[in-house]
């Protein structure tokens, strides 16, 4: 049982991070804190993907040392898997764009309601509601 936890410690850490981010997204009423929770959630997934790229037996980063000008095939078992790293580049870009859009939306909301607390905003909406 104990080696089940210790051997897979990276998965446990990322599950913990994901749950913290998820709780912030649904449990907090401040819009900026929700956005931060979303960021933590996305970064936990990105780190999780990056951690699965490593291999047993001391795999090193995928850069061939001192190979300028020499062309010989690299041995794949010595270097870690670069594909998850490349996939996560895309996921980081997506995360940045979503954060940018969400921040712009928060600025628009603040200008309209002068608060970023969700319960206060709903109260203002209820008092000024008109069926269009």
């Amino acid at each position: 049982m104990i080696e089940y936890i210790v051997a897979k410690y990276n998965y446990w850490i990322y599950i913990l991070l994901m749950m913290i981010g998820f709780y912030a997204m649904i449990g907090k009423t401040n819009l900026v804190k929700k956005l931060l929770g979303m960021n933590v959630f996305q970064w936990a997934i990105i780190l999780y993907y990056v951690s699965i790229a490593s291999k047993k037996g001391g795999a090193t980063i995928p850069i061939v040392m001192g190979a300028h000008g020499h062309y010989e095939p690299a041995q794949a078992a010595q270097y870690l898997n670069p594909l998850p790293h490349c996939l996560m580049l895309t996921a980081i870009v997506v995360g940045v764009s979503t954060t940018g859009v969400a921040l712009a939306l928060i600025i628009m909301i603040y200008r309209r309601y002068h608060t970023v607390e969700e319960d206060e905003i709903l109260q203002i909406q209820e008092t000024s509601i008109t069926i269009k």
């Binding site: 979303m38 996305q42 997934i45 996921a91 997506v94 979503t98 969400a102 939306l105 309209r112 269009k132």
Partner: protein
Amino acid sequence: MIAEQFPALIIVFPLIIAFWINIVGWRWTRPCFYMSMLALSVSFISALGILNTVITTGTIHYRLGGWEPPWGIEYVVDHLNALILVIVSFVGLVVGVYSKRSIQKEISEAKIPQFYAIYTLLVMALLGMTVTGDAFNLYVLLEIASLAAYALIALGEDGAPLASFNYVIMGTIGACFYLLGVGYLYIATGSLNMADLSQLLPNLYHSKAVLAAYAFLMIGIAIKMAFFPLHVWLPDAYTHAPSAVSAFVAGTMTKVGAYVLIRVMFTIFRPYFSIELVPVTTVLGWTAIAAMIYGCVLAIAQRDLKRMLCYILIAEVGYIVLGISVANRMGFTGAILHILNDAFMMACLFLVTGAIMYKIGTRDITNFRHLHKKMPFTMAAFTITALSVVGIPPTCGFFSKWYLILGAIDAKQWAFAVALVISSLLSAIVFFKVIEKAYFKPTASAQAHNGGTHEEVAMDEVPMSMLIPIYIMVAGILTLGLFSGKIISTVIQFAVPASF
């Protein structure tokens, strides 16, 4: 030669034009609309070309970058794909033509070039989601479509930024769950290509990681598709958005989400897994019944026409998933036919709502008196589409519900068939409420109560550039109804998984 390159052209052309709109829009506003329509027309023609090729020669495999799959990204178009490509590009084009007048009234002049750029990107991303054969590429295009939708929805009326923010939070959860699911599949198999995964996974069906991947994928797609318990973002977001945006996303985003669900359940994981090993079809079926009843009942309670249509949309998604969950040939045919019909019906209903909003400035049903005199053509279109949603022949809605009920009876699930009939009756109540307010005069006692004036109302229709798209959609609804048999025998018959 050009016909071979259609799968790339359908995506690249709108992408380049969207960025040209960005540059041109800095100086001149007028060309932006025409450039956007050019891009969407090229996409529509490419989609028709792809459908033609698929019907005559079979599945298309297009290797992006010339790399062999599974090392490279591959675009795979079979019959199901090709049909949805035509639907999405057609609805995008028609709603784009409609948007010229309606957008001028709803958003400020300075933002119109950016609107058309983001609209073109949204259509491009949905087309890309449909055409790709790689699971991670689908995630990227899903996020592009979602980001474009967040931005477009936030341009709407008063409550729009908050509704869009809620959509951001929930949509990101959905996309992250999809990403987690793809990650688990990658850990288990080492591949991201859909066809390759369907070869490698059968040996791993007993492993917990693959089961967890399946669960994450299902939940993520259900959030994006607004399937019953996870639909909460939809009513607010689609109600407060500009009318053209609501019409397009209501007609297409949920349907492309349903397509992704079919791909995950029956192409990546074999039908044996989805039906027998993990009885997810039972769960989906009962949740779909809840979605249908919930959507129709809550639609009766609404006073705002657009919000009512959003709840009907939730019920329609329930129909499609019901057809998938009965897992036989009839039901699946009904589901795919319903994807086709529902895109047209929902787009037309939202376009009509936008036209009513454009003319009389309100969407409250109680203000709809004398509307049949003021806007006769618009209300006629609304009535025909309402008959189609209820399911009356010869409109297309009847045929898809017919196949769904036959499928439910074939699978001996009597509860599903009864629920289908009940929800059709409930939607009849919903639409008759609106039709009564618009068409029938109040009784003499009610008139005396209101003051007893009998006013003459002049006809004041919306401009032609908004009326023609509405009537193209209505003509589509009637044509699809009359030609249902031909559509099924040429396209849909081959889109059903072979083991049904």
